[in-house]
């Protein structure tokens, strides 16, 4: 097979890979991207985007049920699970097509198949078990992403025990459901299925849900979910799952050591993810793998010269926007551009699209304290915000954390309607190294939810106006 030559080959076309490829093409590199499944990777096809479509259906359904609160009437409110899933798949399909178009426009060659490193600067691609292409490239970026982690005794069967993948395309909404893990993925599915009427139990091994979020925000979320009728078991462990003809029996040991036997129709496993490090030809290279993730330096270089890795493959935070950014940094460094900056993890916002939404950036209050900062902490509740009340969304809060000495914005944590759209404001602030003073000087438009960002900042200094 004739070998094709490239400046850069990217393995995987998720939000890390395809963005890296486009950036490389912009910089004049002859670039190829290899994808074994669908362009856009998990994010577009089985992650971020289709779940947002599902959650939107759940949200609209929830609003319809509460139509009367808005002076509206709606009878015989119902959903059609098949159509809800169909819409989600259409959205994903449309965006995947968009990625194909973008790659084509940038003259990035797309090769379908399973890629594997095959010696220095070489990549072999197989499709359906047959050789599909031989590539040579000076630079190779591994962007193979990650998949749901499975724990011993907790293996998905795809029928009763689901991972995100099956949970995204249900044939019907299960009447009862147990979610193992209360991170972003777990809580989004818990929220979706609860809003569509399922009985949802969440089991979290840590003593609180949303372990990565600020404690106060997690506690707020805990109350909100319980009020919605969710059962949350924290500090609890799943002992075993037995599947039956229909449904499963799950053994759970709660925080006090008490055993529970829970009968559910479906189980969703959301206990973290692990990098796709297998079958990509890492053996015989110097690429190091630790805890299921490829080890890289801050320029995303592996220990093997010419081989780079980005995104979920290199570890947390497992976020599409982090992967994209790493892709750009990696490529710009390869191209030798001046002023490439490594990624500052604390400046990466995280969003969870459950109801209520959660968004955060930077240090939690506990972590900021542990880092030795004297703190100024501000809080502002949705109930003090005109737009929130007009929206009928008066539950939530914005919390800001500043260094008392320098005024540095150390962290921001939000829960409530649309906060995922607000967090970028604090992200810009952090990137520009804002202090409380600039935030206070910023004019936030009225009436918007964003006013709470200002009020929370003011509150940190005892100056909030509307509370």
């Amino acid at each position: 097979m004739a070998e094709q030559n490239f400046d850069l080959v990217v393995i995987g076309s998720g939000p890390g890979g395809y963005v890296a490829a486009i950036r490389a093409a912009q910089l004049g590199m002859k670039t190829a991207v290899i994808e074994r499944e669908s362009l856009g990777g998990i994010c577009l096809n089985w992650g971020c985007i289709p779940t947002k479509a599902l959650l939107r259906s759940a949200e609209v359904y929830h609003l319809m049920q509460n139509a009367e609160a808005f002076g509206l009437k709606a009878d015989n409110i119902a959903y059609d699970a098949t159509k809800v899933v169909e819409r989600s798949r259409k959205v994903a399909g449309r965006l995947s097509g968009g990625v194909a178009h973008l790659l084509k426009k940038n003259k990035v060659m797309v090769i379908e198949g399973q890629a594997r490193l095959a010696g220095k600067g070489k990549v072999k691609v197989e499709k359906d078990g047959k050789p599909a292409a031989d590539l040579a490239a000076r630079h190779i970026i591994l962007a193979t992403g990650a998949r749901a982690r499975e724990l011993p005794g907790l293996e998905a069967d795809g029928k009763t025990i689901w991972t995100y993948r099956e949970a995204m395309v249900p044939e019907a909404i299960p009447k009862s459901l147990l979610v193992v893990g209360s991170g972003a993925i777990g809580m989004e599915f818990a929220s979706f299925y609860r809003d569509l009427g399922g009985q949802v139990t969440v089991v979290e091994v840590v003593e609180r849900i949303l372990p990565a979020e600020d404690e106060e925000i997690a506690a707020f979320a805990h109350k909100a979910f319980e009020k919605q009728g969710m059962t949350l078991m924290t500090g609890a462990r799943v002992g075993g799952i037995k599947t039956k003809k229909a449904g499963a029996t799950v053994q759970v040991t709660d925080a006090k050591g008490k055993e529970h036997t829970i009968e559910v129709e479906k189980v969703i496993l959301a206990v973290g993810i692990t990098g796709n490090v297998e079958d990509i030809g890492l053996d015989g290279t110097k690429v190091k793998v630790e805890k299921g993730h490829v080890v890289v330096n801050r320029w995303l270089e592996t220990d093997e010269p010419g081989i780079y890795a980005i995104g979920d493959l290199v570890g947390p935070p497992w976020l599409a926007h982090k992967a994209s950014h790493e892709g750009i940094i990696c490529v710009e460094k390869i191209a030798g551009l001046d002023h490439v900056e490594p990624l500052i993890t604390l400046n990466i916002p995280g969003c969870t699209y459950c109801r209520p939404q959660i968004a955060s950036i930077g240090l939690t209050e506990a972590k900021a304290k542990a880092a030795g900062h004297e703190l100024k902490v501000g809080r502002f509740p949705f109930i003090g915000n005109g737009k929130a009340i007009a929206l009928g969304e008066d539950q939530g809060m914005v919390k800001t954390i500043f260094d008392a000495a320098t005024g540095e914005l150390l962290g921001a944590h939000m829960i409530g309607a649309e906060v995922t759209e607000l967090i970028q404001g604090f992200a810009i602030g952090k990137t520009l190294e804002t202090t409380e003073a600039e935030l206070m000087h910023t004019v936030f438009p009225h009436p918007t939810l964003s006013e709470m960002m200002l009020e929370s900042t003011l509150a940190a200094y005892g100056r909030a106006i509307h509370i």
Partner: protein, 448 residues
Amino acid sequence: MPIKITMPQLSPTMTEGTLSKWLVKEGDEVSSGDILAEIETDKATMEVESIDDGKVGKILVAEGTDNVPVNEVIALLLGEGEDASALEGAGSGSEKKQPAKAEKEEEPEEESDDEAASEEKEEEQPRAERKKADEGKSARPERKAEAGSDDGRIKASPLARSMARQADLDLGGIEGSGPHGRIIKRDIEAALESGGARQASAEPAPRAKSAPAAVAPLPEGVAYEEIKVSNMRRVIAERLQESKATIPHFYLTVDCTIDRLLEMRADLNGRSDAYKLSVNDFVIRAVALAMRKVPEANAQWGGNVIRRFKDIDVSVAVAIEGGLITPVIRKADTKGLAAISDEMKELARRAREGKLAPEEYQGGSFSISNLGMYGIKQFDAVINPPQAGILAIGAGEKRPVVKDGGLDVATVMSCTLSCDHRVIDGAIGANLLTAFKGFIEDPLTMLL
């Protein structure tokens, strides 16, 4: 025809400058707005932007060249479809400072190739290169030294400022590593690590260059209030300190009888409501005309050269809240009294509102400072650098004078000229002042 890039005139008083740095090289693709080179003038380092899209064909003035006259061709830009051959003959005339004849072979060949002749395969590569060139622009060399930049503004992130304040660090001494030379958190951290920390723990460090390192401590019990030094105050402090420390001042005083001027003013003001002339308007015109008569005085010290200006641009000090500013009446010798009066009113109004554009108060070859309205009889003004002279106008007041051997009463205005002796010797200053007195005392001659 290749596009000629010329030495820009960055201020009205600029006649030549130093081409300190080229940011592009021959063969580079540039678009309109790209920074081509850095020019240093007496006042600042400024950037020369490309006014057109094209490719840098030839650099005619090497970087580091001093005293490049304004409007001299410094480079040639090839437009779309032009190749190196277009350079031949172009740009000659004023290219005497051309460093070395640019070799024609140096020109990249791809661009001049007939497009139709190039195969598709090859088409890929130049495209890539063009892209690379494009990219180079956005990542153009940033000027590190800019952190303490032209206008005295230090570019620093809010957090960096706050941290520096905490640690009592002088931002002026820190190099910024952020975008566009901005000082960011890590630069402060690095400075603190590398001994800046010592500075912080020792005596309070000077915050700014102009603040004397050691301000005499006050005895205990003295009540006082600290007023924050504004930017304007800092600039005034720096410039006037520089003036008194570096310019050898000398002073010449004359008394001008202004009775005829006052009569003429009353007469003119009585004729129309369209204007209202002030004594100061007459003074501005008289100064401008005097400088036309004594062009040696319309000059400034330039180190190795004396810069003699072609235009007579008169700066007039206007007191504003927190300090003063000197808006400029350009080509004042060519303007009539009513025009000067109108312009001055407008400039003063906008000066007080803080709305003057830099080009309205920068430059100027000579200043007038008038404290007559405050009843000041006579005073000596400090020269406004880099100018070489300033005329201090006192109040017009009735004084006993000797006229035709007897005592008489006349309205007399004392005027004191401060001169930079490096440029204006006693005789030149005296000639200027005499000419001025002549116009003021016989104002009809201002019409000539």
